[in-house]
Amino acid sequence: MTSATFPPSPPENTSWSRYFGFNTDAKVIGIQYIVTAFFFFLIGGLLAMIIRGELITPPADLVDRTVYNGIYTMHGTIMLFLFIFPVLNGLNNLLIPTMIGAPDMAFPRLNAVAFWLVPIFGALLIGSFFVPGGPAYSGWWSYPPVSTQNPLGHFINGQGLWITAVALSGVSSIMGAINFVTTILRMRSPGMGFFMMPVYCWTALAAQSLQLIGLPALTGGAVMLLMDLSFGTSFYQPEGGGDPVLYQHFFWFYSHPAVYVIILPVFGIFSELFPVYSRKPLFGYVYVCLASFIIVALGLVVWVHHMFPSGVAQWMRNFFMFSTMLIAVPTGVKVFAWLGTIWRGKLRLTTPMLFCLGGLFNFVFAGITGIMLATVPVDIHVSNTYFVVGHFHYVIYGAAVMGIFAAIYHWFPKFIGRMPYEGLGKLHFLLTFIGANLNFLPMHPLGLMGMPRRVSSYDPEFAFWNVLASLGAFLLGVSIIPFLLNMVSAWVRGPKAPHNPWNAIGLEWLLPSPPPEDNFGEHVPTVISRPYGYGTGAPLVEHQAEIEKQLTLQEASA
């Protein structure tokens, strides 16, 4: 292999229109995913603002109680199935092929179909606001018997649309997962053994394996729920010999691993970014990689910890309490690896690094409340209170969404070809970090005091913390403005990005910004070391110096 024809010239077709059609290029699909996801993020966020607006005063004065039920249900469902999963799939589409040196995903057409299902089930879900009876109102987990009621008797009802949308989301995610796993297993560049892969690819592989194992169970359970709701079966109806707790098993068998599907790629992002901005190799690479799969294995046997109050046997409670606590071990390994990486590093506090540090801080906090919740007596005490809401928003907003923002700022120059603005980015970080903590920290004392979740009115003794939380929520709402401003203006007229603005190591940084349609094409470089040789000067690929020189020349002539 020669690198003489390298690097490939930057892409020719850069028209906007390709983002609006059925395109099979993973980089286009990735951006389609991310933009769509943020569209739904705004809708879910608007609903969150309504929730917090309602809760700023004790009485139920802003929206009707039944409407409130629909709003938190849709907030949770939209945020999970239409924001978090699509945005992560978008990152996977951008990062996996470029990081492993593949020209595209293994099944480009399947990839595009998986994406286009997202707006379809999104429309179904949003459409449920407009059907008689309104959207689903049984919470994002839709437990029967609440979710099998159909008081108005219409065949098309909010709950039915909810189940259909969730099942379609499952189909789309399975298609995506098959694609990601096959791509990682079979399309790595020469020389890239498993233990040479970037950690992000390890975590994506782990997360997508969980999707493949867990999602079918949820889909199966959802099909049975739909049958009960619409066709009169009684899988979950005690009157007909059914069992509502069975649904809870199906649901959590997937939905607990789902939190690892969300957080594992974020671990990957942390593991990629800390070394770049600390200028040190990733501490304990092998352990970080293996810990991902230990988390997968343990993550599959902890689901009953969501059902401690649901009348499960005592041996189950004990077993699942133990397995849940055990999962803190591999997670702790990762946290110490990141701390070891930052330790005595030459920190560069860029926007992506700030988001990573903030996310790590929030994650450690959420880990502590998580261990508290794993303990059966504590869990039974605070179950269904705001303590739980606070805990998982710390994980999801404080750690996962912050990590995703870090990834967006970090890889934006690579895939858009322009630099985002640092000032706006830092403002975004500041508002997010303060907003998230102000919003979600007060939920913990509220929960311990006994304020239940999913209520629109509460005792005035809870007012103080609720006002704080709502102020934090509004701050979070405001924090999106600098973000959107930054993304749009940088995309339109930001300074042109060089091929490697952060001095990062990795195959994706050996491509022009933005990369050509088939990435390296025929000229995939041979990988000779792990992508973490910061401060050691070890080259990542053969002919590294030559490739870099040509990329710089290309940029100078452009």
Partner: protein, 192 residues
Amino acid sequence: MTATPHLNTEHPKHNLTGFIIFLCSESVIFLAFFSGFALLKTAALNWLPPGVEGLEWRTPLLNTVVLISSSGTIWLAERCMSKGNLMGFRAFWLLTMALGAYFLYGQAVEWSGLQFGFTSGVFGGTFYLLTGFHGLHVATGVFLMGLMLVKSFIPQNYAGGEQGVQATSLFWHFVDVIWIILFVLLYVWQRS
């Protein structure tokens, strides 16, 4: 869309890898249905709906024999193909399709003679869910075989061992194994 040469045209094994991953994932749905069935059944006070004695097992047993032998014929078909005997491949392939179709027919006959429906408690619900979902897979398998049979008449298509055939036959064995578990759960394990 531009026609970029994708790596997967150079590595023809991707399709099969993807398909195997899909089958692993698909088996979890059955696992969910099976474990749900077992849980509901062991917990039930009155498993059978009033007036139902149990399930007749002779037609399903015949169906089982048919399905298992079709796994044999599809294997023979594959062997013929690997030896380059395209006519033999088509003959055994068609025979497999016929056996699959017969299975579906037997399933339909059984369904039409039953005293209970989809909504007759969990017994009826799980019965039709399991057999129906499996039947859907059998129908898909027969359809895929038809597709591959038509493709085999396109010249040059079968030169280097078509992956579609491998995938279909893998799928067919999968459907077969699922049926055996299903048969044991539904028809052999009748007493609760």
